[in-house]
Amino acid sequence: MADNIVKTKRVFIPGCSLPSYNPILVEKTLEYLQEKLPGTGAILKCCGKPTKALGQEKKFKERYGTLQAEIDRLGAEEIIVACQSCFLTMTEDSPKQKVISLWELLPQIGLPKKSRGIGKKSDIVFAIHDSCPTRHRTTIHEGIRWIIHELGYKFEEPPHTRENTRCCGFGGMVVPANPELALRVMKRRTAEVSSDYMVAYCAACRESMVKGGKRAVHILDLIFGGPWTSDTEFPGVPSSPVTSWINRYKSKLAIRKVLE
């Protein structure tokens, strides 16, 4: 194994919600990054945003410190994130590393050959749900639209979109605190788009859109799966937290498999 190791220039951190949602997407993404950008390592660990959001300042500093130590140990200069909360947390708390969103990176390295134009014949119009933590990061919005356009799917902009996007209802750890309110926020968000189909680029947002009554995919579902049509079976919400933790564990195995 020692012979295999090259310098880790950058590290892919898929976050929590994506690995809990779909380990296959984690695996395929990492494989593709490996292929296009040799020198990419990976870390599966939480960024601690939930701790921070609860207001547990001290605990967050401790926890983020352990993540930062791992990044530094790998010697990565760049962090690739697939979660908008990670993007914010790491931009703020890892000043030594350059943080880039996968959605900004993909337009630079291009999409996998077989996914280009895959949605051209689809009968679906996807309403785009932008994540609110990165509402001011316009390059992410541009990247997402570039990706969907490149895939060939038709899309719809909600009345509140990009910088003016509305929260999916999941933000601020409100779901466990005030579930009834969170559900109302989710439904209000889904009610403002006319399409029955939505695409998000955060797994938690995607789940919220499903709870709000839409059929919703993660953008990586569109890149590494499909073509998606009205006949396709859409992913639902996890039946129990156990499912999510099993997926998380599978994601760990997948990362180890790709980077063994």
Binding site: A177, L181, R248
Partner: protein, 598 residues
């Protein structure tokens, strides 16, 4: 308890949030009628609700719907942007005319306070003061010189603008509440002012300004020369006045228009109206001038009186001269004339409509301080005179010029009398009585269309000069609905339209943070219900970062709770985080050589 730092930070929102800022119309209305609310009700077809909202503040809705000079409309955002203000008064009239049910009037009165208040004058100022004091439980008596109620609304404003049965109907509320009326009793003649003072705990003087002013030009003492107030009073009370076929009216204000238009109705064939100002600068409302012209009044703008000539002691001619400017460089009234441009008009009467004075002869001048024009001197905050139990409201102090202002002064005097009789602080917290400037700042969005103001229906000018029947026919229901729909419903509360959560806990952020500051603590569910999405900040004209305040509170709550969230449901997050950082679900892999893998 929250820390001082957090509370200090919250103060920014308490001071700057415009959530409680009244709309421009409401702040401008001297009586602060909730225009936005009732216009919205009209727009929804909820007319009974609309009249109920109006009646919370105004006991004369149908009267004001006709004759209010509506300063609110001047401050309407649609006026500012499109010069097409909401027809607020006309909307008020619509619901008052059709949906004001006497049976629904609020007749509640506080328990009897055992104190007596006298009000001199049954005009809008006196009636409002009497009403407010009666509702507070005082025994109130109104002394009125005339045999009818309404003051200048009754004997100043012509009947074709305000039918008299409306005044009587609306004053019915005072009767129902038990306000005692002593009509046809002139203070100073039938009863002395001192007698009234002796038999009452407090007195409000609201006698109005019913004394005509005459410019002492040559010939002003000739027969056939009158004052507007005397003329209008006589016409109002008897429907008659001896005038010739050609007359002159002097003055450019609304009263002059009332005189000229009334004269036309009495059969005067030629009414020549002279005013110093150029036509676009006449003090009268533009629509009043228009309506007068429609009725055949001939307006000579830019002329002042030179002299009157007569034969056998009776006026036969009126000479005017061209006025070049009305005010001097300092803005003081100082008319300049062109002595080379004089014109003589053969007229049988001249009526002065150049202002009114107060008849204050019923009080002893050594008792109460009197100012120019007979006006009573008062403290501007309390309306109290130098006699501590005597207050003045309305035109009698010279502080009001229109009915709604007189009512506000009446209300102010009533507040003062109540505080005086209760031995309370007379001056505390009185900043928002009468017209004030709102702290609201709104922009009319680009997508707002310039929909023109709906005009009320008017009787044909040829028909209307035949009698004193009402000229303005008001709105139809369709017109009222259309007009109400134009209201921009000015308010801030942009965040409240964006945020689901804030609506669960407050009417606007200022209210919430004020409450938190007052109580010194907050239910954890509030800060922990914020999605931290910043949508409120995006909408806020002041860019308040409300989520940061919630975050600060969260941090403090966690600190005080041994590092744990006070929310039960957050146990799950704690477990999630523990697992998220556990070795079982973590892995760290350096980059590998792809070739090496294969």
């Amino acid at each position: 308890m929250l820390s001082q730092d957090i509370k200090k930070h919250m103060q920014d929102i308490v001071e700057g949030c415009m959530g409680d800022a009244p709309p421009y119309c409401e702040a401008t209305c001297p009586m602060h009628t909730d225009v936005k609310k009732y216009v919205n009700f009209i727009g929804e077809g909820k007319y009974e609700d609309a009249i109920a909202v109006i009646r919370e503040k105004l006991f004369l809705p149908a009267t004001l719907g006709r004759i209010c000079a509506h300063p609110c409309e001047e401050k309407c955002k649609r006026e500012e942007v499109f010069q097409q203000p909401m027809a607020i008064a006309a909307l008020k009239r619509f619901v008052a005319d059709h949906y004001d049910d006497e049976a629904k009037w609020d007749l509640t009165v506080e328990p009897h306070k055992g104190k007596k208040v006298a009000v001199i004058g049954a005009g809008p100022a006196g009636a409002q003061a009497a009403l407010d004091l009666r509702k507070k439980g005082y025994q109130v008596t109104i002394f009125e010189k005339l045999k009818v109620v309404g003051g200048m609304m009754r004997v100043g404003i012509p009947e074709y603008r305000l039918p008299r049965h409306i005044i009587d109907f609306e004053y019915g509320l005072l009767h129902k509440l038990g306000v005692e009326f002593k009509l046809g009793i002139e203070v100073g003649k039938d009863i002395s002012f001192d007698e009234i003072r002796k038999t009452h705990d407090a007195v409000i003087i609201a006698v109005g300004a019913h004394k005509g002013i005459v410019i002492p030009v040559e010939g002003h003492q000739l027969d056939g020369v009158f004052h507007a107030v005397d003329f209008l009073r006589e016409v109002s009370l008897t429907g008659k006045f001896p005038l010739g076929k050609k007359i002159a009216v002097i003055g450019g204000g609304n009263v002059a228009m009332d005189v000229a238009r009334s004269a036309r109705r009495l059969g005067v064939e030629e009414v020549h109206l002279f005013c110093l100002e150029s036509k676009d600068k006449m003090p009268a409302h533009s629509w009043e001038v228009e309506e007068a012209e429609d009725e055949g009044v001939i307006i000579h703008a830019g002329f002042g009186p030179e002299r009157m000539i007569g034969q056998g002691g009776k006026v036969t001619g009126f000479e005017v001269k061209e006025c070049i400017s009305v005010f001097d460089q300092d803005g003081k009234f100082h008319p300049q004339y062109n002595e080379n441009n004089k014109q003589m008009f053969a007229v049988e009467n001249v009526i002065f409509a150049v202002g009114q004075a107060v008849d204050s002869s019923f009080v002893n001048k050594e008792q109460i301080e009197i100012q120019r024009g007979g006006r009573f001197a008062v403290d501007p905050i309390t309306l109290q005179t130098n006699l501590e139990n005597v207050f003045v409201a309305g035109d009698a102090s010279g502080r009001s010029a229109i009915v709604i202002e007189a009512m506000a002064e009446g209300r102010k005097a009533a507040i003062s009398v109540d505080r005086y009789l209760q031995g309370q602080d007379m001056k505390k917290g009185r900043e928002f009585e009468g017209c004030y400037k709102t702290w609201l700042e709104t922009q009319v969005k680009d997508e707002v269309l310039n929909i023109p103001r709906i005009k009320t229906n008017q009787m044909d000018p040829y028909q209307r000069i035949k009698n004193f029947a009402e000229v303005d026919l008001g709105f139809t229901e369709g017109q009222a609905l259309q007009e109400a729909a134009r209201c921009l419903q000015c308010e801030c509360k942009h965040c409240m339209k964006e945020c689901e959560m804030l609506n669960d806990f407050c009417a606007y952020p200022k209210e919430l943070f004020q409450r938190i500051l007052k109580e010194g603590s907050v239910d954890p569910i509030i800060p922990f219900s914020c999605n931290m999405c910043s949508q409120c900040t995006l909408a806020c004209p002041k860019n308040f970062k409300i989520h940061e305040h919630f975050m600060e509170i969260r941090k403090e709550m966690v600190k005080k709770n041994n590092g744990k969230s006070p929310i039960k449901g957050h146990k799950a997050i704690e477990i999630h985080q523990m697992l998220g950082f556990s070795k079982l679900f973590n892995t760290v892999r350096p980059a590998v050589n792809r070739k090496g893998r294969s």
